[in-house]
Subunit: 692 residues, 2 copies
């Protein structure tokens, strides 16, 4: 080694480039959560939910620190603050309530608590009988500093404290003991000058939606199939007539496939035939004809006035209308003529139709999001959506969002929610997991899921565990469907009535939001177009159907009962509080859901707690009675571990009392493959009575 | 519901506020790692290590994407790129080598692979015998686009391809098949115009250190105790004379406690007495006297020339000198006179000494980092450090960094490493986990650990699992010490020679960097100041000691042997590749370490692989023979699962052959409580021979 540069001591040259603007910021705020991708995206909550925030906070040395959680409506200046509580290991927790629909911000702020440190040290000095005459003078200076920025009343009080600390007619130790009073600490806490405070970065965001963004019960139908007269095209007036049926079954969102004029060029016929039968009604997703595009109504459904009547009639019954946003065009769409640059031209001058080579979908033109006029295209699609919002639509089911750029959706949803924060978007992206999650992160209020294809106990358990745990639970709200017009799963094709019942109960109790495509679902429609296909034979996508709602095969009674249970039980209105339990039978899934009871203790039964607890048990095997025993973690469920569990059987009626947390359930798929039970701690006398 | 605003269709107003500058960026890059706190801090590597980067990357729709990893030296403009390989599920992986000491940047870039998409679709069309006459024209346009930005040679080649694609004397299907040749795809890949590419944000950083930042063998001694003459103050010349001993034992870093003048006011005596005996040498950490401060040398140790001689003599033997940076002052430090504002004044005009109420440390003045002149203080401390760097010191052990602001250290280490990127800092922060990790994240090259207090098999296993797994492994480099001048753990006080041996082997084989405070350690110094204390009786912090290096009690032979094993085996030079194995005995810890062998297959033995695999087995119970059987996961260790395992016993000599991966080990703490074995796949003939 050669030391080439060895000046003597003392002649080092100060280097102070890249100095921070303030070097005395000593508190570190780390790992603030919940947050999505380091704060790149907002978390989601609904009105009335609590945002529980945790972070690490610490400083150098041994000084005490003060840590507060602050939140505000986005775009406003003033923070509201709540204290954060130390959990140990430098972890802090605080919370605030999501009070209003819209975008809100939150952050953690921390600073050296000089007075708290002084107070802690003073106490130690007093206990050791040390001289504290200097310390009370230091304390008086701290009180002065707080007084300087305090309100008039507090300032006067603080100045009195400072005077007492300095008043040397009393022994310093007495003045010190006096200054340990909580009253002074509280006065300082409200007026702490917060020297060199740190605010966690970046500021985090939460999008607060209406409650029905979390808890909703969806019903999808094709309006054109709602005519009571076979052979006649259904209308919005027919849909109005169908509303009592929908409401009676307990649904509160009615989702309609596209209601716009349908293209004629390359129109498809029954069962996706490229040679349509005469009078074929076409596919509603082939949007646009001579009658207009995305803001027009298919003439056979009625007029815009009829649509308004439907929206109003539904609203009167507590039902929201959800429309389909399918951003694509038929070759007859007015956009093709008016905005040719929004589509991709091929070298021969034709327009590029949708493809998945070698498959061709010549009845659909996708928009070219790489168009030079992308700004015009984006604005046009926003216009379409704002139009329907003005017609009273506040929920949109978005068709195939994963085939349009992510950046478009982030802007689009942001624009809509800036003016109409209660509007919700359901992402119909049946695609790869990371794509689905990205769409949820960037703003979709709800998302379709893989539920339809999760058909084993292990798969269901794994999937719903993932969906209900952080970070997914904070940005992705599942809306689960046992069927859709595109998906008739093999389970339903082969499992008979029991499979429909099981899949229905799973959907309605595993997730706070679910939907069915009816009447196909409740009537047990189950024939595929061909073996191995998930397409319906005689799918309503291509044909008008007429349904016998009075069929004895309908499972409408079960649907009505389960939806009533969902409305009565807060545990089924949230995706939190889900826990799976071993049944010892790989065909039987058991899970509990729990949530705070809506009205707390009602005093009616000593066994009632403040928790609403539901146990669901479902056999996935469509035939054969199954009996299982489940060891319930009674204490973890918020029930009294010292008392038996009383289970009210909400589907079959009756009440069972289980001892030692051991639940025994027998299911007969010939009757119903599922049980839904409301769990409570049994009253002491009942317990004694049943114990013998 | 009342719909208040219902204009007719078509009059929606375009809203295009908050549009992005480019809306056609379609590729998403997410979850790029390794990264620390979302890229807030750099990861760490040493020269020659590989940075393996993974990310999620995807686009809307079904287009193919191209994904590349780019890296560059920080502050330079040009990226170097390597391809990333698709792992499935939208995950990609690539890597680059940390080639040079300093700060480097890396990022992922992705774009729609238009040509790749075209090629994939073209293949599908050809397989379905579709007309491709339009497609070859589209392909020719894509080739033209690549040609436009290509180098002269590539442009000519691409233009020839475009001509061939358009040359309609050949059938379109033949031209299409021609265009599927890999040569064209490669030509395009090298000249892709990358429309609307996405670069992952933020750009991530890696600090590349010299190899000895990862693999180092430290020895701490008090220079004043190195005199061979009892009663004489040791000097740097004595330390030079001690170097052969240090080198013979296999150490390559010699760490010296502070070498500066020691304060006289409130000087401490033996065993931390506040009433020092006459001639008490004082505590080296009470820095500063009439003779100078942090850039001066304690006169009794020698001169700056003597120090230079020590640095050079050490370097000649492959030993680096590590100095102590203790940023605090004795009351006699020149800074107290020259920079009174760097200390906190009390109301009575005195300077605030160090305290942990009710304890007082009047011999130490901490710097007041909340001083108005914090810029001057920071610059002063940087000057001190640069001074010693100019004297040839490239490693600093930083005393109590957790009592100075985090922001100071981030700036300070950044400044030093900007000019001297090979300089290393070891953080002596024995404090709470999050504080220790923050210091590591913000720049400390190595960190002291909780190893000393991890004394059970469970605790050791849990702790080293945490340290060697992401994210900790990417920012925190452990330097583990069985003892320090401050810490004589109870295990050593009561466990006798066997405890010293066990703790030594654990330190030297669990971590790539470790150190001992000697000669106290190798000589088995084990008497505490009082029962329950971790302080040494007659600690060298307060007294000059003289050590009998020739003592028969010394475990120097074991240390020499183990350090030689460390130097011979790459597996012990990294913290990667650590795995713990069940022994069935909660007092016996077994673990393997593996790394690529330095020179690959040496051909000497058919059983040698390209992996260096070490098995260490240590009993924590200081008395009584223990025998354990361990089921080695032979395949996971990179050994041939079809062949027996041959274990060379590196401490006791001899070779054992184990069949079916079952290792049997017997340890006698009266001899040595640890075994270190080099594992290989046994040669076929040997295996056959041993099998009978």
């Amino acid at each position: 080694m050669t030391v080439t540069d060895r000046p003597g001591p003392g002649d080092a040259i100060a280097s102070a480039s890249s100095l921070p603007s303030e070097g005395r910021t000593r508190v570190v705020i780390e790992d603030v959560g919940p947050s999505i991708d380091g704060g790149r995206f907002p978390i989601k909550r609904v009105v009335g939910e609590t945002v529980v925030v945790e972070c690490d906070a610490f400083a150098d040395g041994h000084d005490e620190i003060a840590v507060r959680l602050r939140h505000r409506r986005a775009g406003t200046a003033d923070w509201r603050e709540t204290p954060m509580v130390a959990l140990g290991n430098d972890r802090f927790r605080g919370s605030f309530e999501a009070e209003a629909v819209g975008r809100h911000e939150y952050a953690v702020v921390g600073w050296i608590d000089r007075f708290g440190t002084w107070r802690r040290d003073l106490r130690a000095r007093l206990e050791a009988d040390q001289d504290v005459s200097i310390d009370v003078r230091i304390g008086a200076d701290l009180v002065d500093a707080a007084a300087a920025g305090a309100s008039v009343d507090d300032r006067a009080a603080l100045e009195r404290w400072a005077y007492r600390l300095r008043a040397d007619e009393a022994a310093a130790s007495n003045r010190a003991r006096d200054a340990l009073q909580p009253a002074l600490a509280e006065l300082i806490a409200g007026n702490d000058p917060r020297p060199f405070a740190t605010q966690g970065e970046p500021i985090l965001e939460v999008v607060v939606d209406p409650v029905h963004a979390r808890f909703g019960t969806w019903y999808e139908l094709f309006p054109r199939s709602t005519s009571p007269d076979a052979g006649r095209h259904g209308t919005f007036r027919d849909v109005i007539a169908r509303l009592p049926y929908v409401v009676d079954l307990g649904f509160d969102v009615l989702y309609l496939p596209p209601i716009h004029p349908i293209g004629r060029q390359f129109r498809k016929g029954a069962n996706n035939s490229t040679e349509p039968e005469p009078g074929a009604p076409g596919v509603p997703w082939a949007i646009g004809g001579l009658e207009g595009g995305h803001t027009a109504i298919h003439p056979e459904l009625g007029t815009l006035d009829d649509f308004h009547a439907l929206v109003d009639a539904a609203a009167d019954r507590g039902v929201r209308i959800a429309l389909d946003l399918a951003f694509q065009a038929s070759p007859d769409h007015p956009f093709v003529r008016d905005h040719p640059s929004w589509f991709r031209a091929r070298p021969d001058g034709t327009i590029q139709y949708a493809e998945n080579p070698p498959k061709k979908y010549q009845d659909i033109y996708p928009f070219d999001f790489e168009t030079e006029d992308w700004r015009g295209l984006w604005a046009g699609l926003l216009d379409v959506t704002r139009f329907w919002i003005r017609q009273g639509v506040r929920i949109f089911r978005v068709d195939n969002p994963h085939t349009k750029p992510f950046g478009f959706w982030e802007w689009f949803i942001g624009e809509i929610k800036a003016s109409d924060p209660d509007v919700l978007f359901l992402a119909e992206a049946f695609t790869r997991p990371k794509v689905m999650y990205r769409l949820a992160k960037l703003g979709f209020s709800q998302s379709y899921t893989y539920f339809t294809w999760r058909t084993t106990t292990t798969d269901l358990r794994d999937y719903f565990t993932e969906l209900t745990a952080p970070p997914v639970r904070d940005f992705f709200r599942p809306n689960v469907w046992p069927n859709t017009p595109d998906i008739l799963h093999e389970t339903l094709q082969v499992g008979g009535r029991s499979a429909f019942q099981a899949r229905f109960v799973l959907a309605a109790t595993l997730a706070a939001s679910y939907g069915i495509y009816g009447p196909a679902f409740e009537l047990g429609e189950r024939v595929p177009r061909e073996p191995g296909s998930e397409e319906y034979l005689h799918s309503e996508k291509y044909e008008i159907r007429h349904w016998d709602l009075e069929s004895h095969a309908s499972i409408a009674p079960l649907i009505r009962r389960v939806n009533a249970i969902r409305h009565a039980h807060p545990a089924l209105q949230t995706n939190d509080g889900l826990a799976f339990h071993e049944t010892g039978d790989d065909q039987v899934l058991a899970y509990t859901k729990r949530a705070p009871a809506r009205h707390g203790h009602d005093g009616r039964d000593a066994g009632d707690g403040d928790e609403d607890v539901i146990l669901a048990v479902v056999t996935l095997e469509p035939q054969g009675r199954r009996s299982v025993a489940i060891d319930l973690p009674v204490g973890e469920l918020g029930l009294d571990p010292q008392r038996p569990v009383q289970a009210d059987d909400l589907l079959r009626g009756g009440t069972i009392v289980w001892h030692d947390g051991r639940a025994t359930i027998s299911l007969d798929p010939a009757d119903c493959p599922a049980a839904i039970l409301h769990l409570r701690s049994a009253a002491a006398d009942r317990a004694a009575g049943s114990a013998g």
